[in-house]
């Protein structure tokens, strides 16, 4: 009987500082067999464990075609994540996973991709972007629209610069509290919609970030003719088990740890923004 609670030790290979309190931890599973078996889809998450403290759900941000090293971008905000922030390369974490439903990247083949993200919310979609660019010719145009509060919140700067260089690809950035160094758009991410042309029949939208961004952004895209069934969102709730048993991650009838975190928009539309859901 497979025990879904068993935690696999992993070593921190590298620590990449992304912002003031945000760090990417590059992890490698210690057990060679576990390493060989570990395969994930972009948008899935792991339960990351720290000895003596506990587990926390973190999306895998690395390229699914390179599952030997697993990147997790973590903001030091809670009890566990703050304790993780004190670790150094060579220290041990644990991994359980991968869990949940990822982005529908097979279904998206042949279509134009519009990616809309806000803040640290861009993490779950990074793996999807890498996946698409590895198979650039299998997808149509790619538009990446990313909003941050302040320029300090802009993670993965080099990645955005690298993505921009792919053919038929647009990367648009915006900040609603910019400083003098900011050379991109000023405002919220939904304003970027006006700067891109979107073929409503050929496009698929991948969205992650604050729920308010989704609730404001989706109606604008729908008015431009994109059906709700062509829009996907990655959602967050408190998670403890990762397998739909602990009950914390419910949103209406869904357990976001197994039915999500990536959900087709029409399935969650009536739950988003409902108080207490």
């Amino acid at each position: 009987m497979v025990n879904p609670y068993v935690i696999h030790p992993a070593t921190i290979v590298e620590k990449i500082r992304e912002a003031e309190d945000i760090t990417t931890y590059r992890l490698q599973l210690v057990d060679v067999e576990a390493q060989r078996r570990f395969r994930f889809k972009a948008g899935q998450f792991n339960m990351v464990y720290l000895f003596g403290v506990g587990e926390v759900a973190i999306s895998i941000v690395s390229d699914p075609d390179e599952p030997e090293l697993l990147d997790h971008t973590i903001r030091a905000v809670g009890r566990t994540t703050k304790a993780i922030a004190a670790l150094q390369p060579g220290d041990a974490l644990g991994i359980r996973g991968p869990f949940g439903a990822g982005w529908p990247l097979e279904e998206a083949k042949g279509r134009n991709i519009v990616i809309v993200t806000g803040g640290l919310g861009c993490a779950p979609v990074v793996g999807a972007i890498e996946y698409i660019f590895r198979r650039r010719e299998e997808y149509g145009s790619v538009k990446i629209l990313h909003g941050v509060k302040t320029p300090h919140d802009l993670l993965y700067r080099e990645r955005f610069d690298a993505w921009r260089r792919h053919p038929d690809t647009e990367v648009l950035l915006t900040s609603d509290q910019p400083d003098k160094t900011w050379r991109y758009h000023v405002g919220v991410v939904t304003e970027l919609f006006e700067q891109v042309s979107i073929d409503p029949e050929k496009s698929m939208v991948l969205m992650c970030g604050p729920e308010i961004m989704m609730r404001l952004g989706v109606p604008i895209l729908m008015r431009r003719g994109i059906p709700a069934t062509a829009m996907y969102v990655s959602l967050e709730r408190h998670m403890e088990c990762g397998i739909g048993l602990c009950g914390h991650c419910q949103m209406g009838p869904y357990f976001l740890c197994k039915d999500g975190p990536v959900m087709r928009y029409d399935r969650v539309e009536q739950w988003l923004g409902r108080a207490g859901v």
């Binding site: 497979v2 210690v30 000895f51």
Partner: protein, 382 residues
């Protein structure tokens, strides 16, 4: 009278000890209801005399009392606060023992010792709850090994209800008062006789070892009419015909504010519920930080941390939490598991310290334009 090993036999009440002895001989630890602190709790028993003989329970919203009738009735107490849940979904289940090593740590699962446990006195509602929890913890994707280990050793002797409490509404939930499935043996107490039916191979085997005579048609029909009368006598019912949709649509109903004025968010309803499955995982290191125990504990959607996500609480108020509980139990549960999360046992009504009645709340929530009574305020006091 022919001695049979068929599925329906009769055992004089005074001979129940033979069944307990047969179970012990088969290696079962026998557990039954015993009187403690004004109610009944599950305890290991070796003798029929440990059962709550002659006791009956009276239950109403927020109130539980036992009374002694002086009879020899074995199963006059319908139920206490515990369902079958603690036998399979343990309140505190150690998951892993984790030991620190130079290059990290090693984990070893702490599965419960396999044990054969025979529970006598479970009710139809308890079994309905067990069947629902089976579906949750032993689903197609994951078979929870801790739950499964406990479940495998469980032998259930159900008791069909012939007396309804004021808080019972299993008839309207179609889960009782007759045990439907999931039992090994089912007993109906009819005066001095116990009608015993088997519901599984293991049940048939036990029944055959104690060589009970076949039940007469009269006894079978007397039992059936007692159970039927019990269903008829239930004064509470829960109308689930318009669920889940009607409750989803009631999300902004003013009744939620009203019930939030009374609800304590104390978690009792979720703890006594036979189907509630929320749990939290707790890591407990020793002072040397060389060993840690990783365990899961019963949790509740009424706690502060249940809806917490990095720096904010999705359900900060009692209104949010009560609405989450009721909407999940009666509505979204249907979408998730194809069945209601409520089995009609009435425990959440009885064991609510302020006597909130789930049937009354639902009926108010599904009534549009109702003017709810004012929430409790100091001005409303004595």
């Amino acid at each position: 009278m022919p001695m049979v090993s068929q599925s329906c036999g009769v055992l004089p009440r005074v001979d129940l000890q033979r069944l307990l002895d047969a179970l012990s001989a088969e290696g079962y630890r026998v557990v039954g209801p015993t009187v403690r602190e004004g109610s009944v709790v599950w305890e290991t028993i070796s003798s029929v005399s440990e059962l709550p003989i002659g006791w009956r329970d009276q239950q109403e919203p927020g109130r539980y009392r036992l009374e002694q009738t002086g009879s020899q009735e074995l199963f006059g107490v319908v139920h206490g606060p515990q369902s079958l849940k603690p036998f399979v979904f343990a309140p505190r289940e150690p998951l892993l023992q984790i030991t620190r090593r130079q290059d990290g740590f090693t984990t070893s699962p702490t599965l419960p010792q396999p044990e054969r446990v025979a529970v006598i006195g479970a009710r139809a509602c308890d079994l309905a709850g067990l069947v629902i929890q089976d579906r949750i913890f032993m689903n197609e994707t994951y078979r929870d090994p801790y739950y499964a280990t406990r479940r495998e050793g469980l032998f259930v002797i159900a008791v069909n209800c012939t007396r309804a409490l004021a808080t019972c509404f299993c008839a309207s939930m179609e889960t009782g008062p007759r045990a439907q499935r999931g039992y090994d043996l089912a007993v109906t107490e009819v005066d001095e006789q116990l009608l015993v039916e088997s519901g599984s191979e293991a049940g048939r085997d036990i029944l055959s070892t104690i060589l009970v005579p076949a039940a007469s048609d009269e006894l079978i029909s007397a039992a059936a009419s007692s159970i039927h009368a019990c269903a008829q006598s239930q004064i509470r019912r829960l109308d689930h015909s318009r669920l889940p949709q009607a409750l989803y649509e009631a999300h902004e109903h003013p009744r939620w504010d009203d019930v939030a004025g009374r609800c304590l968010a104390c978690t009792n309803c979720t703890m006594v519920c036979p189907t509630c499955f929320c749990h939290t995982v707790e890591e407990t290191p020793d002072l040397s930080h060389q060993h840690a125990a990783h365990a899961r504990l019963w949790d509740s959607c009424f706690t502060q941390e249940h809806g917490y996500i990095h720096g904010k609480n999705i359900r900060p108020t009692i209104k949010d939490r009560y609405r989450m509980w009721l909407t999940h139990k009666l509505a979204s549960w249907i979408d998730q598991f194809g069945t209601s999360g409520c089995v009609g046992c009435g425990r959440c009504i009885t064991w609510c310290p302020v006597g909130i009645d789930v049937t009354e709340e639902l009926s108010a929530l599904l009534t549009p334009d109702v003017q709810p009574p004012l929430a409790l305020q100091h001005k409303d006091g004595p």
